[in-house]
């Protein structure tokens, strides 16, 4: 086994802790560089250990994969702790990502990345975490689509999405009767191709670079479009 110091069960616990989506046993085996049998034995050990009293996590088999979740009996305490949404100031990356989702929804992450010119992964993850956006279906290419939530409307004091501010004040080319989406994509691509846009000016300023430790990369296969490859790392 390649992992030293901590054993396989511990490593699998850590991996499941880090991934919000269920992970298949084969993916765990690959990551730990062990056989599927060893992985399944370790998952069993983990399930047993978590089943003991004194543990607040449970191992669950979901959608063909494995996931950790909080123990259902801790939900009341969780509601009390998390009842009030956390609303720290939005970073520039978060505000841009949220604005794109708000005005264009539903929108996929690759599209957000193309508009921003940098990977939108970490900002999207934070917005998901804070409940400002949520997943809503799949694009025709299979990419997850995002939309804003009711919490978003409440936190921005909006009755509905129709109450979003008018863009005319910020619109540099109102004479163009194009769709907002097309114009955003065009501007994003122009920034990228110029090579002088955010992606270059601010190394590390994009999605994954911003606060990656606090975020977890989803399966990259979710984002089949090439723009996602524009990482600033």
């Amino acid at each position: 086994m390649s992992v030293v110091g901590v054993d396989l069960t511990a490593t699998i616990e850590a991996l499941l802790f880090l991934t919000p989506e269920p992970v298949e046993a084969t993916a765990l085996a690959e990551a730990c560089e062990v056989s599927l049998e060893e992985t399944e034995a370790a998952l069993e050990t983990l399930a047993r250990a978590l089943g003991e009293t004194g543990r607040g996590l449970v191992l669950r088999r979901l959608a063909g994969g494995w996931a950790l979740s909080s123990h259902p009996e801790t939900e009341e305490a969780a509601r009390r702790l998390l009842a009030k949404p956390r609303t720290p100031p939005l970073t520039a990356a978060q505000a841009e990502t949220l604005a794109i989702i708000a005005y264009l929804q539903p929108v996929s992450r690759p599209e957000i990345a193309r508009i921003r010119g940098v990977n939108a992964e970490s900002a999207t993850q934070t917005l998901l975490e804070r409940g400002l956006v949520e997943e809503g279906g799949r694009s025709q290419f299979g990419a997850t689509l995002y939309r804003t939530t009711d919490l978003f409307l409440t936190l921005f004091g909006l009755d509905s999405l129709k109450a979003l501010p008018d863009l005319s004040a910020f619109d540099p080319s109102p004479e163009l009767e194009e769709e907002l989406r097309d114009r955003l994509l065009r501007a994003g691509e122009a920034r990228l191709s110029e090579g002088a846009g955010t992606a270059v000016d601010a190394p590390g300023a994009g999605g994954a670079g911003r606060q990656p430790e606090l975020s977890v990369a989803p399966d990259p296969s979710e984002d089949p479009e090439p723009a996602e490859a524009v990482s600033d790392a």
Partner: protein, 266 residues
């Protein structure tokens, strides 16, 4: 003009410094001063400082006010030393407090730069030790997420969203090529200009490029080099940054007919 037998001072190119890595001029100066293998006596401090400031300017990071302040400090240091090197009795007369204070300030600021550089290195190493600790990041379970809306209140301004979209809608400015005056000034034009001046026997380079833009200055130098190569003139400069005097050489072929013939021959 290089003096025979005296090695020219080390310039930036000799030092193999990667300017990218410096956090600022104080950092550069500090690195240079602390570099043991480099004898600062051999270093052309002015060249290095000016080259670095050029570099910052090229990157759009130069703050003119800061650069000026920095240069003033360096200059004060040099001025102080120059006064100190004068014979004893003159020091009393000439030594004002200002350069000494400015030099002292430069030292203090270098010391400060040293401190923050140390602190920056410390932060860098802290970050790298934290590399393996990853945090979970996942949306809350549905049941808890739903419970939060009633307790939420408006804390964000919707205008922030419109502004963010406004920024994203901006098309990047087209690359401005106006400052590249491809054919505004030709070498032939400047050749003629220099030759006109040469008829007087000699002239100052500054005079030849009075009110000219940088490209014109550069092309004027090409023209002078060309004429130097052809033996029509020589130029002298008594000291670095001093005046450059251009003198016509005897037997120079400066009549327009010859120039025309030369051009035709090319």
């Amino acid at each position: 003009m290089p003096r025979p037998g005296r090695p020219s001072p080390l310039r930036l190119v000799d030092l193999e410094l990667d300017l990218e890595v410096f956090a600022g001029p104080f950092d550069l100066l500090l690195t240079l001063i602390l570099r043991e293998e480099v004898d600062l006596l051999e270093v052309d401090l002015a060249d290095i400082v000016i080259s670095y400031i050029d570099f910052l300017e090229a990157r759009g990071e130069l703050d003119l006010e800061l650069a000026t302040e920095f240069l003033v400090l360096i200059a004060a240091l040099l001025e102080l030393k120059s006064r100190l090197m004068l014979p004893g009795e003159e020091i009393e007369e000439l030594l004002e407090l200002a350069p000494a204070e400015a030099a002292q300030e430069l030292l203090e600021r270098l010391l400060d730069a040293h401190r923050y550089r140390g602190a920056a290195e410390h932060l860098g190493s802290l970050l790298s030790t934290q590399h393996g600790y990853r945090f979970r990041s996942a949306p809350l379970p549905e049941s808890i997420r739903r419970a939060r809306v009633p307790l939420a209140s408006a804390v964000y301004a919707p205008a922030r969203l419109a502004k963010a979209i406004g920024v994203l809608l901006e098309l990047p400015a087209e690359v401005n090529v106006d400052h590249i005056p491809m054919t505004k000034v030709s070498v032939a034009e400047r050749l003629a200009h220099v030759r006109r001046l040469l008829r007087r026997g000699s002239f100052a380079f500054d005079e030849a490029v009075a009110d000219a833009d940088r490209v014109t200055v550069a092309i004027t130098i090409f023209a002078l080099l060309e004429l130097y190569k052809q033996g029509e003139l020589e130029w002298t400069q008594d000291e670095p940054f001093g005046e450059i005097t251009v003198t016509a050489l005897a037997g120079a072929r400066s009549d327009p007919a010859v120039l025309g013939a030369q051009r035709a021959a090319r």
